[in-house]
Symmetry: C2
Subunit: 355 residues, 2 copies
């Protein structure tokens, strides 16, 4: 029970380090380091009396196990990597919320990695970071259309960590979770058709993104099913921002003058469309029908309230974590899952006053 041991051999290196380590706890409680380890990990093979004594010392010294040392020893960091491309937009922010919630519930830490798809070697940097930091799993939340980078990433990271991709084209051997964007786009468009709109334009998102292209395909599906025309002049590409929705409507009217309805691929662009319509004196829903996608909370308060497609990205994030958790637990127990499961969430339509 000696408080300070002056003959301690462990003072070679000059760390101005006042952290309490497992060794301090062991010395103070008069047991071995291993016993303390057993206590903090809730292992058996330690008597109730010593256990409670050690616990008392732990509380007294405010000891907290060093996660880094533990990671090194266990070869597992209890960390998940999240690869995305910024969280200003509604969708990614929702995803992150779900991921974070579920991760802390399971005791995982999160290592955020934002890629800038324009910088040439940013994917390499992110991959390196993830491997260096020994993440146990990765949630890839910024899926591009081609899947090229995703496949390359998959190859590199697979030996070290489990991966779940979000919202991309499923491919061999990978686990992909997504919302049925195509169905959502179709539902929105079919609803416009049903409401009697004749000439339905599309303000799509960046064409490099899978989800964006899927929504576009859904729009196309609906038009084809209804034997309506669909030409390139009915489409303009936006960048998810309200500004691009505003200018999008102008461009659309220019190249497709008979337009009487618009499906905007997200709510923020739909807001821009509403604004431009108002400025041009086109009444919504009278002269122009508008639907969005996302059902962000604000969309109910647009003027008029926006008809839009609801999908639960928060839940998608939670599912991703749960899936990784399952896969990793299976691996720990020695029977890794063979077929990585994929899954698609169903969106639904929320009808308001803009159609």
């Amino acid at each position: 029970m000696s408080d300070v041991n002056p003959s301690s051999p462990r003072t070679d290196r000059a760390h101005s380090n006042n952290r309490v380590t497992i060794r301090h706890v062991a010395e103070q409680s008069g047991v071995s380091v291993q016993t303390v380890s057993r206590v903090i990990n809730n292992h058996p093979d330690v008597s109730d009396s010593t256990r409670s004594q050690v616990q008392h010392i732990i509380g007294k010294l405010q000891y907290r196990p060093n996660g880094i040392a533990r990671s090194l020893s266990t070869q597992s960091s209890r960390t998940l990597g999240v690869v995305a491309s910024g969280f200003q937009l509604y969708g990614p922010a929702q995803l992150l919320t779900g991921i974070e919630r579920e991760a802390t519930a399971f005791g995982w830490h999160l290592l955020l990695q934002i890629v800038d798809p324009n910088k040439p070697n940013d994917y390499e940097r992110v991959t390196s970071n993830l491997i260096s930091q020994h993440v146990d799993g990765v949630i890839w939340a910024y899926p591009e259309l081609t899947g090229e980078r995703e496949r390359a990433f998959h190859q590199q990271i697979m030996p070290f960590a489990q991966i779940v991709f979000l919202s991309m084209e499923p491919f061999q051997g990978s686990s992909v979770l997504s919302v049925d964007n195509r169905l959502g786009g179709r539902m929105a468009t079919e609803h416009l058709i049903q409401r009697g709109y004749q000439n339905i334009g599309l303000v799509t998102g960046p064409k490099t993104l899978w989800s964006s292209e899927q929504r576009k395909l859904g729009w196309q599906d609906a038009l084809i099913a209804a034997k309506r025309m669909h030409a390139p002049s009915q489409i303009v590409e936006g960048d998810w921002s309200s500004t691009s929705g505003d200018t999008g409507l102008l461009r659309l009217l220019n190249q497709f003058p008979t337009l009487d309805a618009v499906f905007a691929s997200n709510d923020q662009m739909a807001l821009g469309v509403l604004k431009a319509a108002h400025r041009l004196g086109r009444r919504v829903p009278g002269d122009l029908g508008v639907t969005g996608f996302d059902n962000m909370p604000e969309s109910a308060y647009f003027s008029p309230g926006l008809t839009t497609v609801h999908h639960d990205l928060c839940q998608l994030g939670q599912l991703a974590v749960r899936e990784l958790n399952q896969a990793l637990q299976a691996k720990r127990e020695g029977n890794p899952l063979l077929a990585p499961p994929s899954l698609m969430l169903q969106p639904w339509l929320v009808v308001r006053d803009s159609t």
Copy 2:
């Protein structure tokens, strides 16, 4: 240059671990581990020829230094903790964006910690995590009004990591970065007064938050300076959501019928106010003036375009990282900063059609 060394002594522990370590690189290049370490850390004292040879082997084996081992050895994880309370709202999302951008620029990793202020021991959990994971610095981005928890946290974490608080009352010995919310509130309200509105109500944010209360004080400042009345009946409390803005206006009109203008403490609540006004047949800006706070990109596309207060939270996040970076570098070099600097960013008014 032997590829596989069957007599390697390091095969006691059963790790199905195919990772390339510094030792493999050393063996393959025929140098010591220490030399490889010097190469990957760009230290001098290694000849150009061996350096390039080692680098060649590193590339060939695709070696990536183990960040965890490195952290353990150097006693520094190159990680910053970010404490917040969710990123669905515009403000926190902006903050995170700035933090993330600057952090990756400086090579820091981020450990996200979302607290649920309602759960009793969540702050303790977060604190423990941050200490366990050996973060070098912390950005506290969810400041409550009282500062109690912040002070307690400061006490606990100070021995281990630098801290920067965002948007709270400065206190002794701490570094606080914020936007001048009070000035912003004052500017918004003075603008309403200047436009001739007589009876200005307030839809405030949660009263537990410092920034929210500051905006309220700014509103008060302006009214007092203009010798206008201000009574509790002129105030309702919202929760930042559009829904609370909508019901907020209803409640406000009920308890303060002469109301002819509203300062909403954020743009989303202002949107709700606009919607409710529209529903009630009150013209904005004719019958009712409305200002918001945040200047989120969408606010220009509300109907009518929202007059609001702009502040650059992205920049605030970046500054926070820069400040931590500086403080930590000073500490590494042995001359820790004595006076932790604080700072206040100036917001400005953006006038649109709602006033």
